[in-house]
Symmetry: C2
Amino acid sequence: MPVISSKGKAMPESPIRKLAPFAEKALKEGKHIFHLNIGQPDIKTPVEALNAVRDHKLDVLAYSHSAGFESFRKKLAGYYAKHDITISSDDILVTTGGSEALIFTMGSITDPGDEIIVPEPFYANYYSFSTQSTVKVVPVISQIDNGFALPPIKDFEKLITSKTKAILICNPGNPTGYLYSKEEIKQLADLAIKYDLFLISDEVYREFVYDDSEHYSILQESILDEHAIVVDSVSKRYSMCGARIGCMVSKNKSVMETAMKFAQARLSPPTFAQIASEAALEAPESYYTETVAKYKIRRDTLVEGLRQIPGIKVAIPNGAFYCIAELPIKDADHFTKWLLDEFHVNNETVMLAPAAGFYSSPNEGLNQVRIAYVLNRRDLKKAINILKLALAKYTDQESFSTVKEKVTL
Amino acid sequence: MPVISSKGKAMPESPIRKLAPFAEKALKEGKHIFHLNIGQPDIKTPVEALNAVRDHKLDVLAYSHSAGFESFRKKLAGYYAKHDITISSDDILVTTGGSEALIFTMGSITDPGDEIIVPEPFYANYYSFSTQSTVKVVPVISQIDNGFALPPIKDFEKLITSKTKAILICNPGNPTGYLYSKEEIKQLADLAIKYDLFLISDEVYREFVYDDSEHYSILQESILDEHAIVVDSVSKRYSMCGARIGCMVSKNKSVMETAMKFAQARLSPPTFAQIASEAALEAPESYYTETVAKYKIRRDTLVEGLRQIPGIKVAIPNGAFYCIAELPIKDADHFTKWLLDEFHVNNETVMLAPAAGFYSSPNEGLNQVRIAYVLNRRDLKKAINILKLALAKYTDQESFSTVKEKVTL
């Protein structure tokens, strides 16, 4: 029997989805599960997007241009201009989700064995895409105690080798919810220039910032014209995860010409989804403000609720719709399975994402979980209450006592 | 300035699309171009597919399962059963186009430096995807004189090394139009078993077979259960190139579990396109028969027309909607540009795909072009006439005389 590849073996299972069998069993037992584990928003997709697809006039569903509809790319340039980002439509390549933008980016700038430095914890699929490209992710650990702020620049410098091709950040961060300050972006920009590295920023949560914070893009740093590559997506912005439309943005012509060759190989991004995504740009300003207002209330509800639970440590997220919480347990993976398998409150339970999957360093984040606040406020309160009761009942006493010492609220 | 990757540099430009600037110039000059160069059919997409999208009831465009809708995969298993291919829905992974099915296949079975043997000429993007995976394509040359039939098995055997992981065929073939016989598939099956190699078959043109020929799938060979991987797509079958839906099919559980990890990393295939693709399976039998009947007429028109042109050699294609023609010129690339740039008949010209882009061996196929018969019969006749007049006028005499000797009709 022929064997599969080493990199195929090394590909991680999705930490978010690998618990699915436990969830399926719970559902079969008649339990209701509050999903705090996935980034699938419950927010409605803009009607402009949904109706544009309903009203399509196609009789042949043809390939589009490999770079995406020209009309869409031009409107995207207008969208970026509203965010004080000055680019032309030629600096944009429409991709099949932010996922493909990352794959094209890695393919365009790295060869097997090259290294990319990523603040940890990070979006788990960065690790998958780098494994797929046989590129090494080099983690630089950020800390829950300062809310997962940018690690000191000297920590990055220690990790830079001749193999280092790029630094990759997610801003605001999945899974941390941390929003990098303008000052932090400038520090990273200086670092990228100093060592002539690419700076890749995943900015798919650009709009999701709270408390009058402002998002600062690497594309606003003019010194980075040749170094900055932004990965973007409509998935979260418009609650259109199923569209699978994103884009890659860079003013570096060599990078974009190279990415275009990857784009030509896969022919084109999906046509219906481009129709929807182009129309979504017509959504009124109120769509964004109302969505963000909803998430702010949810975030406040979540953080306030978690702080009522003894032994939990949580950093207030300033962006995206996730936070990392440290629980008074030893093994979040075991706890998550236990929640699905053995626990319920009136036949209701919660599903969490164990945070170890967001770390590539071994033994990091074992007692942490990622919580996505994609539920309405009422459900969120219920879910937090279930979590509270669960932690009171969870009898892995050894875990509890071992870890308790290092937990401070 | 940071540099792009070696593999990014090695990625080929699309041989089909790289002539686009010449075509754009011709259009600006007011010329009409008959496109014989691309595989975008003019056939209408089934109304069942287009209407299913018009009638969608979504208010949140959510992720689907990473393997695709379960309902779609079940119906796909039914579709394969009609083609005497017995598989379960668990053997199917829905992908973003046949392209992604190829990428997942290569990722699951090859590591950098591994080799895949491919009969040449081959679909140009096989080379792109292997370059992207830093895998080496090892070509085994097939010949226009026998219609690009399967090269002798001993030619394959000569090329097998410890690095060889798979043999990849396209059946029926793009760009050759060749349909492998059951006997040839059995020879390949024996070879795959003998050397314990994967046999990958791109069967996206399964329905497009003419003259009472029958398509024989590698999935019909029971000895290949652990070795066969099929790449499929709705693009050509339903004239839905813009959907970007395909699938990967294999009974090898390790392969499918590995591919599933790649699928989880990119989250899901596009939702609207899955709705369309699932509904396309409801198209009546007449959709297929009428489409194939149209292509048969076009093929006959094309071959008959080409045979009227002095110095052209063409193999009758038994499948797909392409053929390779050898022209009485030296450099098909130059001729193609000349057609767009300098030639016209009453302001009309044709665009061809130079075949060198379908060969990885240097200096092969330089005087060949791929012709896609995706035009209606009237336009096809016009296009052939333009080609005839162009060849009579084309004055690259040196080219002509150099090559003429080896051309026999």
